[in-house]
Amino acid sequence: MISKKWVASCFTFLLAIGFVLSGCGNTAQTGGGAASAPAGSPAASSAPSGTTAAGGGFALDDIKKRGKLVVGVKYDTKLFGLKNPTGGEVEGFDVDMAKALAKEILGDEKKIELKEVTSKTRIPMLENKEIDMIIATMTITDERKKQVEFSDVYFKAGQSLLVKKGSPIKGIADIKKGTKVLAVKGSTSVINIKAKSPDATILEFDNYQDAFSALKAGQGDTLTTDNAILYGMMAQDKNYEVVGEPFTDEPYGIAMKKGETALQSTVNEALKKLQSNGEYKKIYEKWIGQSPS
């Protein structure tokens, strides 16, 4: 019989369990655990008959056959990949790099299709072959090398902090227990900040736009990610500034599906060419405003 007393005691019991459970458990743990080989990642590729360039994989052939390079870029990151409501174009450093690669590989920078990725969706989309490569402020890490092939470094960034002008936070040392730090799910910034400031409260969002909106709404004290992205945010809103020295190294690489070594070498060749013929410097200065170091 479902009596009122029964229902009430059930609720109280559940509420008690709820409080107990939410009390325990340590949010700082997520980053540390290097999980066992993720179930979804492709096994070491066995691409036999490769292609022309040194290495294996079919992606390069597919791209040439298709006549179009499909690249995953950010749509919410000023300076690297930002969708402009006026006109609907996506613009940024990564976008221009993608176009330059299309020119090198296919001969025409217009033979390109851009798709939106976030830190969370980029690798799944690459593995599904929805995109040929990722050029989306992606840091090269050993962990990620297990999942994808990276090109050579094409941009050197470092993790840093963004705060509202006038904030008492001046650097990583000021992040203490109770400080609310905003970051994006699936980014290396999350793992790093949890390691460097384990007592801080980290709030994770789906993309940088949401995180920045949260910062603007005062839902956090600071936002942490690569300084390059933070400079973009500074450009969008003069009330915010980057503080402190970069406290990690974030070398960006272009990611390709694991096993696509032919594509990888082609991309690296293209990158070297862009460096030597000055194209890279032009793109860099256009977006970053300084010469590449």
């Binding site: 709820g18 409080f19 979804g40 949260a214």
Partner: protein, 217 residues
């Protein structure tokens, strides 16, 4: 077969999310019931202003997404100086949103009680509030329980919206774990199972309640 090491490695985090989902759901459940009852009473009140407030509330909130409601609390409220955490915004949004549906269900229940009863009660000297409390509402409750239990089931499912606003609930942590480990299938299966632990019993209880009420008529 899901790889359960994901579960064991991250067990404390799953539990923390699970716990927060329960807490948020129960708070919203109680809150929306209280708020819903108040709004329902407003809607049937003869005071034009209260009537208008109740109707406006229900019609507006019912027709916009829950996501939007929480979005307004989380990103919009700070512009008038009120900054609430993701958990609070989510829970409050959940309460307000569910209340609009509960208000409608309760109103239907109240209207189903014959007017004669209200008139008789007031004729014997009971005030309006007393009439509501002792005569009308208890009878209305019987009609109201099936749609109400349905709404509570929805509430638990809707609590997942906290995941979008850093609400530290089951959805949030599940998402976080999936993003970091890339074991998406396994993680989401575990999250699904944990939600079912909450929703299936609720579903079953709602079914039994409906059957029982249908019998006593």
């Amino acid at each position: 077969m899901p790889d359960f090491s994901i579960f064991t490695d991250y067990f404390p985090i799953y539990m923390k999310g699970f716990g927060n989902t329960i807490v948020a759901s129960i708070i919203a459940l109680i809150g929306s019931f209280v708020l819903g009852t108040i709004i329902a009473v407003f809607r049937i009140s003869s005071v034009k202003l209260l009537n208008w407030i109740g109707t406006a509330f229900v019609e507006f909130i019912r027709n916009i997404p829950l996501l939007l409601v929480v979005f307004v609390f989380f990103y919009g409220l700070p512009s008038v100086g009120v900054t609430l955490s993701g958990f609070v915004c989510g829970t409050v949004g959940l309460t307000v949103y569910t209340a609009s549906f509960i208000a409608e269900a309760i109103r239907a229940g109240i209207m189903s009680v014959p007017r004669g009863q209200t008139e008789a009660a007031q004729a014997t000297g009971l005030t309006y509030i007393q009439t509501m409390r002792y005569v009308v509402l208890p009878q209305a409750v019987k009609i109201v329980i099936p749609p109400l239990s349905n709404q509570f089931l929805n509430l638990v499912k809707n609590s997942s919206v906290l995941g979008v606003f850093a609400g530290f609930d089951l959805m949030y942590f599940g998402d976080q774990i999936a993003s970091e480990t890339y074991a998406t299938f396994d993680t989401y299966v575990i999250v699904a199972l944990l939600y079912l632990v909450l929703t299936l019993p609720l579903s079953y209880m709602a079914l039994r309640l409906e059957r029982k009420l249908a019998q006593t008529g």
